[in-house]
């Protein structure tokens, strides 16, 4: 099953880039949490554990050929949809949203698993139904349904951030698979109508977040607080930043969630535009490497899989950074490899493992 020659084709570039980003992330967590959590295992150490665990998972995932996943696609998809549905029935409610299933040892968040599963499912679907001139509207119904079911279930929880990400990942894959121009136009029109209609289906706090995003000053101490404080943190960083562990915004705890969703604001405050551009470059390199892997993939399934995983990482970065610097509403999406959290780290590393897997096998015929 495992060929020694594979070791020679291990993608050190991707793995190195990912480890570099995660290491910077841990250093940043060290800074952002140094002023609190006086005892117990420090957050940055825990994140180190998660990185170790994630890397191990990624490496284990490279042992078996990714092609086996194609046969597992429908089963995992059905299982994951069932899990999502059961969350709505038996799930654990935390902070007003029901997202977790309590497994005793840890809490499983099926919507997180769904991100990977939908990628595998759509990759299997598109690779088995290739269309040279692009899909017609009619041909998009099946993949559309595959995507819509988990998206709706996730929105019900309600977890708008993850639902949005699932949608973005699926749409990226569909766009890449090719959609005929007339179908695309009709879909765009439908989407704009749906967005207008969807407003009325949103929960109060979700509407609040969007309203506040459009005008943060209308509630500077409530929902607008995050955005205002984050923008002040980022903006006050200037060109060179205030220096490691010197950010007043974060060290004096003006910034909420500064170790999770807003970890980047701490970085931007302390390292300035200079650091930000370097970090953005690093993330862009990871994304471009992902696209490169897709391009060189040895099968159509592998190509779609790599596109999906890259899209997942890409949209997490864009949505999180967009939110932190006030371009998008606050939806609670973590920055991959940077925000504290085991779930995000493990999901990202699973994605990374799949990319490594596809990359390693491109020379095998």
């Amino acid at each position: 099953m495992f060929d020694r020659r594979l070791l020679g084709s291990f993608d050190w570039v991707l793995f190195g880039l990912v480890l570099l980003a995660a290491t910077i992330g841990i250093a940043n967590l060290y800074s952002s949490t140094s002023s609190w959590n006086f005892s117990g295992i420090p957050i940055y150490t825990k994140q180190g554990y998660w990185l170790g665990m994630g890397s191990t998972i990624a490496l284990i995932l490279t042992i078996f050929s990714y092609r086996h996943l194609e046969h597992l696609a429908s089963a995992t998809y059905l299982a994951c949809v069932a899990l999502l549905a059961s969350v709505l029935i038996f799930g654990k409610t935390s902070m007003g949203a029901t997202r977790w299933i309590d497994l005793g040892v840890f809490n499983l968040q099926p919507s997180e698993v769904m991100k990977v599963v939908i990628i595998i499912t759509l990759a299997a679907y598109f690779s088995q139904h290739e269309s040279n001139e692009g899909y017609r509207l009619k041909e998009l119904i099946a993949p559309g349904l595959l995507l819509a079911i988990p998206v709706i279930l996730t929105m019900k929880q309600p977890d708008l951030g993850t639902a949005m990400l699932l949608l973005f990942i699926g749409m990226t894959m569909a766009l890449f698979a090719g959609i005929r121009r007339y179908a695309l136009t009709i879909l765009t029109l439908l989407a704009s109508c749906a967005m207008t209609g969807g407003w009325f289906l949103l929960h109060g706090y979700q509407k609040d977040r969007i309203r506040t995003f459009l005008d943060p000053e209308r509630d500077p101490l409530g929902t607008g607080y995050h955005i205002i404080q984050s923008k002040i943190a980022v903006g006050s960083g200037g060109l060179w930043g205030k220096g490691f562990m010197q950010g007043t915004q974060s060290q004096l705890s003006f910034l909420p969630e500064r170790h999770t969703d807003f970890a980047f604001s701490v970085f931007a405050e302390e390292w300035g535009l200079f650091g930000c551009i370097l970090l953005l470059g690093l993330y862009l390199a990871i994304v471009l490497r992902g696209i490169h892997i897709a391009r060189k993939a040895d099968s159509s399934f592998g190509m779609y899989l790599a596109i999906g995983v890259t899209a997942m990482i890409f949209w997490h970065i864009i949505v999180n950074l967009g939110m932190v610097i006030g371009l998008l509403p606050v939806v609670g999406v973590p920055l991959p490899l940077f925000s504290y959290g085991g779930t995000s780290m493990v999901t990202t590393m699973i994605g990374c493992g799949l990319l490594l897997n596809i990359s390693m096998r491109r020379f095998m015929f």
């Binding site: 903006g235 953005l280 399934f301």
Partner: protein
Amino acid sequence: MALNSPQPDDLSRKRRFEWLMLAAIFFFTLLGIRLWSLQIIYGDQYQTLSQKNRTRYIPIAAPRGPIYDREGLLLVDNRPSFTVSILRQEVTDKQQLLTRLATYLNSDWQQLEADWNKRRYYPQYRPIPLKHDVARTTIENLSENSIDLPGMLIEVQPMRAYPYREAAAHIFGHIGAITERELTQQRYSDYHAGDYIGKSGIEKHLEPYLRGIAGEKLVEVDVKGKKLRQHQVRPPLPGKSIFLTLDRSLQLQTEQAFGDQSGAAVVLDVNNGDILAMVSRPAFDPALFASGISNDQWQALVNNPDHPLQAKAISGQYPPASTYKMVTALAALHEGVISPNDLIDCEGRTTVGNRSFRCWKKTGHGPTNLKKALRESCDVWFYEVSLKLGIERMSTMARNLGLGRTYDLPLDSEQSGLIPDKTWKRNRYNAPWYKGETVIAAIGQGYVLATPLQLAVMTSTIANGGTLYQPHLIKRIEEFDGKILKQYGPHILHDSELDLEDLSYVKRGMEEVVNHPRGTGKSTAIDGVIIAAKTGTAQVVRLKDDPVDGEEVDIEEIAYRHRDHALFVAYAPAKKPEIAVAIIVEHGQHGGSAAGPIAKQIFKHYFTTKADTSTGGPDV
């Protein structure tokens, strides 16, 4: 090349990849431009804002949930307490402040400085607490002179209060500051250093309910962390209210009845297993822990030979002595080895092999039947019966009545006692079982051990006709606004399937213990209610293996620690039982004379209170 692999020269695919890369670069460029705009174009503006930034969230501690008795009478609550803290930015002269504070607080300034240094890594705006629970007069004194104490801050915090001090202390348990080790545990994952948690008893086992949800206040500060103004954003949510099955006045009465004696008592409702009172003496004041116990106080508690920290009612394992005789009697009737009216001639001793086992009454009881054996606690009757019965059948009945097991109360260190049998002895000592051991087991001595709770359960099971109820302590849990969260009703563990006729003979014997001129517990009788009981005297150390007849032992001469434990189990009213009690007075000598009076007070209190409420209240 595999059939499904993409063709590298596929033009449209190549173009799609190019689009993909362009899109990625486009989005990243967009982010870069936005960052440029925030950090460079508007950078100065945001830097000014960050200098002036003045708002931040600070948590407000939530009060723990109160604990009530079965009627909703308060048992444990919180009271406001004063903490003297330091706001570092306002301190002008640290040395001077500490010396002055030391005088007011009547403590050592070096100690205060050590406390200060221990918490110096607190965020600047967060006050450092120096002394908790400072007396009101001291606080008044301090506030009058606050002008000379720049940087001192007086904070009001909820403090756990136990208005009945030592009463039911072992049930409530105590709270304390969370330790470093506890902070690393999964169950305390959302706690912070400095938080108080339940360390034992209900406080510990119902911690998730008792703990409230911390509130938040928005504090305006300048960039150096100096506090300017504050307003509450989210009020703290108090913990849930716990309603125990305890009856407050009965609990207090029972505690009081012990006086200076050590021991334990349990009062059960025989018809549902509610624990109405549970006392372990001596006790401790849980409030000592709430405000931080001093080393001296702690040492005094730990080194006290009467073990005030031990919950004797559930973790004290004593030989049940003669209170075990109901077990032997019921087993004998159940197995048919003897009839209730069969007579055994007690001559003051029974001989097994070359050993002689004495009855407590050296002159003997003469011809004795079951009723008389129970009433006058004739040991020989039980010796003889046990030889026919054997240890296995006796122990089966003991377990059937609720002995030898734990009941999973939400408390610490509940013990299972010990009901011995041959397998146990083989495993424990790798030795066979001897007949002599059966004989002493029949009167609840030797290996047999039981906790006061188990003895109360046994008595209750006999009283109610054989239903073993799960003894329970928690009646219900409510949200702070009164919404019921959980409710616990009676739970039957098993039906002992006792023959009602067998039982009636044993019960009659127990009634005569109190209501017969020669009963061993006749001094316990009260007006208006018929009590059924059994006394017991448990040997702590064997005085002499087989004392010579006629040798008198003077109680005064026996060292206190070597004196026998006094036991007493009872239920009432005899015909329609409502409550069962089990009492042990450590080194109290005789069950009837030392433990009986406590039972008497419990019954008196229970039935007079009941009469008062039924005549005073509206007729139903």
